[in-house]
């Protein structure tokens, strides 16, 4: 019968390993398999696996076999593992203490004596660095030899591709988790927006928000003002209406959170009896500006409207000035009460302005998702097109005006996914 050589044994274990690697998709289990098998196949006392973190350009020891050492981070190019990662060449060091790249501190800390070190890069199928595996001290006491080098290269080529595949799976799962989170955030965000508006014989009001594909930071709000007194019934509506429209800088979860906070603070400030829109914006600004390291900001146009008299008081924190749609058919830009966008610094000044709407006059506020809408050819909707369309549509009843404007933008986009939230809020003073 044929005699089993140690070499054949080791080739057999290599075959076992490649099968084990091929069936392992979970990254953490795979790292453990690579680590354990490397030590077994290479007959080493210890093995350490470093995973390459490309964005940070460091090697991170995910598992450290037989050692109590925690997570070690090695910049590419530093030390032996870093050197192998940078050069992508196998490195066989027969006597560690004679090599200047060897760091003796770990040995000292752990009471271990490193003799020989075999280090090999783990590469993806297209030769990108995935990690580094390091084997310490062959159990026989000899240094690692040429046969070990051949074997570890074969091992590393399997392990590298397995690692690549597991990382792809992990990234895809992570992406899926993020997308689910964003969808949830979006649903919550949309659920916060009021869909029912105050109605009165002298008031028409409506609003719409078309969300961008990613979670954005637009919002609108409409609420009936309550005044307070120390006599029963203490709080009562006085017929005036608070409203706001806003756009947070940036997109994603951060913008969505900032928007939710802004909207909550607007409700709180307006509900607590702030005297006018400038006072509301000043209060919201101060709250937002506390601990705002990232200098996120939100543009907000806020107003207090009295449907009975048509008097509008408003303040504009860095937002596009709304349009006044006159009953005569004239289109005007609302004279700007320019104040800064909210959230940047505390104690900024906000000014208030007044406008009286005549019977049939309307106000239309919007976010820049409207005029900056782009079609599939990259063409911008633009202010000129927007104003030309408004002139043809401004006499329509408010709900129809809002709906037809949203449809107009969608038509212009020709199916291009909106890059930004598109929000419109409008109201008209009806003749009594």
């Amino acid at each position: 019968m044929s005699e089993t050589t140690p070499r054949a044994d080791r080739l057999q274990s290599l075959l076992d390993v490649s099968m084990a690697l091929a069936t392992q998709l979970d990254l953490d289990s795979l790292l453990q398999v690579i680590l354990d098998q490397a030590r077994a196949v290479m007959e080493a006392e210890r093995s350490t696996l470093y995973v390459y973190d490309a964005p940070r350009d460091v090697l991170v020891s995910r598992v450290s076999g037989g050692s109590a050492a925690g997570l070690i981070e090695v910049p590419l190019g530093k030390g032996i593992a870093g050197h192998v990662g940078a050069s992508r060449e196998l490195l066989n060091i027969p006597d560690a203490y004679a090599d200047p790249r060897f760091n003796r501190d770990v040995d000292k800390r752990e009471g271990f004596r490193t003799r020989s070190i075999l280090t090999v890069p783990l590469l993806s199928h297209d030769a990108r660095l995935m990690g580094v595996i390091q084997l310490l001290n062959k159990r026989s006491g000899a240094a690692f030899d040429a046969e070990d080098e051949v074997l570890v290269r074969a091992f590393a080529s399997h392990a590298g591709v397995a690692l690549e595949r597991a990382k792809l799976v992990e990234d895809a799962l992570e992406k899926q988790r993020i997308e689910e989170g964003l969808r949830l955030a979006h649903d919550i965000q949309m659920g916060m927006l009021p869909r029912h508006f105050p109605s009165s014989p002298v008031l028409e009001i409506d609003a719409a928000l078309a969300p961008a594909r990613s979670v954005g930071g637009d919002f609108y709000d409409v609420l009936e003002r309550r005044t307070f007194s120390d006599q029963p019934p203490f709080g009562k509506q006085d017929g005036k209406i608070w409203f706001a429209i806003g756009d947070v800088s940036g997109k994603g979860i951060g913008a969505a959170l900032f928007m939710a906070i802004t909207r909550t603070m607007f409700r709180a400030a307006a509900g607590a009896g702030a005297p006018d829109p400038a006072a509301v914006l000043a209060q919201v600004n101060n709250e937002l500006a506390k601990d705002n390291e990232r200098s996120m900001f939100v543009t907000v146009f806020a107003g207090l409207y009295d449907p009975a008299t048509g008097v509008l008081e408003y303040a504009n924190g860095g937002h596009n000035p709304p349009y006044v749609l006159r009953a005569s058919g004239a289109l005007e830009v609302l004279p700007n009460a320019a104040s800064p966008a909210l959230g940047v610094m505390e104690d900024l000044p906000f000014s208030v302005a007044r406008l009286e709407l005549g019977p049939g006059d309307a106000l239309l506020a919007y976010t820049d998702g409207v005029n900056e809408a782009q079609n599939t050819r990259g063409l911008l909707y633009g202010t000129d097109r927007f104003e030309a369309w408004l002139k043809t549509a401004l006499v329509r009843p408010v709900p129809e005006l809002v709906a037809s404007l949203m449809a107009e933008i969608e038509r212009f986009e020709e199916g291009a996914a909106p890059a930004d939230d598109i929000t419109v809020l409008a109201f008209r003073r009806l003749a009594s």
Partner: protein, 109 residues
Amino acid sequence: MEIREDRREQGLVVAVGGRIDSNTAGELEKALLAHAAEPRLVVDLGAVEYVSSAGLRVFLMLVKKSKAGGGKLALCALAPGVKQVFDLAGFTPLFTIEPDVAAALARIA
């Protein structure tokens, strides 16, 4: 986007060019905030074509950090479209803005 630094006797001049949007704001943030502690800093925006709200945020961070550290900061050579972005957001009063590098350096001298 391009970023060029020019150390002069009167202060550091950082010239920025191209589009400053959510794709490039991170790079600009790194480059500019590294100089937030400069006692005299001029940011030359002469070659900037466009600034988005993500870009504005970088300048806001810079002016806050610079002020906190007691430094002097001036922006200069804003194209009308870029100036309009600062105006619309109501941020113009928060900055020292001059027509060119020489005027900016003189202003913070």
